[in-house]
Subunit: 136 residues, 4 copies
DNA sequence: GTGGTCTAGACCACT
DNA sequence: GTGGTCTAGACCACC
């Protein structure tokens, strides 16, 4: 199975971190299985139109964390799972993002309903994008 | 009532931003009312054991945003709450937090409803039923 | 086209503010278009013979206001023009200049019509008949 | 003839400067004649509810400029006129305020008409205030 | 190379 | 005493 990378330049979170988190989460959720091959640094860099150093940095961090294994000349493959997120762990992982959103929303004067509506909109936007995935 | 500032050095969010967000949130929630005095730059710097410039930077940003008013010789006081940004701008400023939350939620396998529910819960936890604006 | 920054040390308006106002005005008039690159902090600091921090401060304020967008590694570019402030807020921000003008005009014995005429003349001098917004 | 001092705390222009400019302009316009007495430092400070040091600073600057003469124990009186503003000189004096206003107005996206309207409003506010002057 | 943050210390203006 | 500005120099993260 190939993986659908999505990055957004112009975001406050650096590109290399976006890649790291996507791979890490996909592995923890089982959407990437042990042994699955990742695109080469150069190929992915070209596809996402970013500097190869950025991809290399992301792969290096993933390798350091044990999420992937890289062998020179043979590319990178997903390593055997270390831990899987389930139940309370998933919620614990999501909590900071929820707290940040609500904190900023209150500061900006949004109501609860408005924020929930915006979340719903963004959800549709992301899910809709996933269903018509035609790239690699 | 004096305001209870809490900062954590070694966080990924810079110190001056932690201060800005605390004051902004407290003002939006009414925990800081118009006219309330903030500690002086030097006093707060000493209390938090940081450089006065760092505090000054935070106060300057709050002043530019219209959250507080500062005047040399006098200190800094909380300004009257008012709508500074257009609806579109407020939405734009909230967008990154929404996107981050939804991206992580999707990666972790949450449904839209589940996330909206978590947002609702956090909202109630932060504010006690009080609202301020209804416009979007 | 590169932008022609002009500052005067020894002015009552601080250097960083001179820079902010020049960019803000140029962006509002279209002399700086969305996507135009600004000189790097260090380059501009060297050119104007000021401390890089002073330039960084100016860029930070422009960034917070949404006039430019900055990203480490890339430089600073002009953002798309948009309405950031509510009508009331824009009026509030213009108020001090209006009050100063009228106070001085009254002291100097100008009539209201005369001042309005001078304003009209100066307006035409600054912009060449181009307008951008009609809402108040 | 007594003089109608008007200051606005919460303005960006310092209080002592507001006083200096009012007296200077009134003298140059002939509304204050040579020999006219100014209120004592303490009396004016009490009336405007500001620190006596602020008034003293303003009087000191006026004295340094030769606009007034202060004799210990005898209060301050307006000095003989040095220069009178007429015609082009008056316009030259007003120009900076006009330029500042228009520059900021354009930056904030105001149209010429809108600014002229705001000037008109402020003019009525100031003139109206002058006509019902009942204070000293 | 880029911008962002923080420290240290100086000087100024205002009250 | 207050906040505001500027300099000098350090360190970090990102590309």
């Amino acid at each position: 199975m190939t993986f659908d990378f999505r990055i957004s330049t112009g975001s406050n979170t650096p590109i290399f971190r976006q890649i790291v988190e996507q791979v890490r989460l996909a592995a923890a959720m089982g959407r990437l299985a042990a042994g699955d091959a990742l695109p080469s640094v150069r190929a992915l860099a070209e596809r996402l139109v970013v500097n190869p150093n950025t991809i290399a940095k992301a792969y290096a961090e993933l390798s350091r964390e044990g999420v992937i294994e890289t062998r020179p000349g043979k590319g990178a493959v997903v390593a055997v799972l270390r831990d899987v997120y389930t139940g309370a762990e998933r919620q614990r992982r999501l909590a900071p993002a929820v707290e940040t959103l609500v904190r900023e929303a209150v500061s900006l004067g949004f109501s609860c309903q408005q924020v929930q509506q915006l979340v719903g909109k963004q959800f549709k936007k992301v899910i809709g994008g996933q269903e018509r995935r035609e790239d690699l």
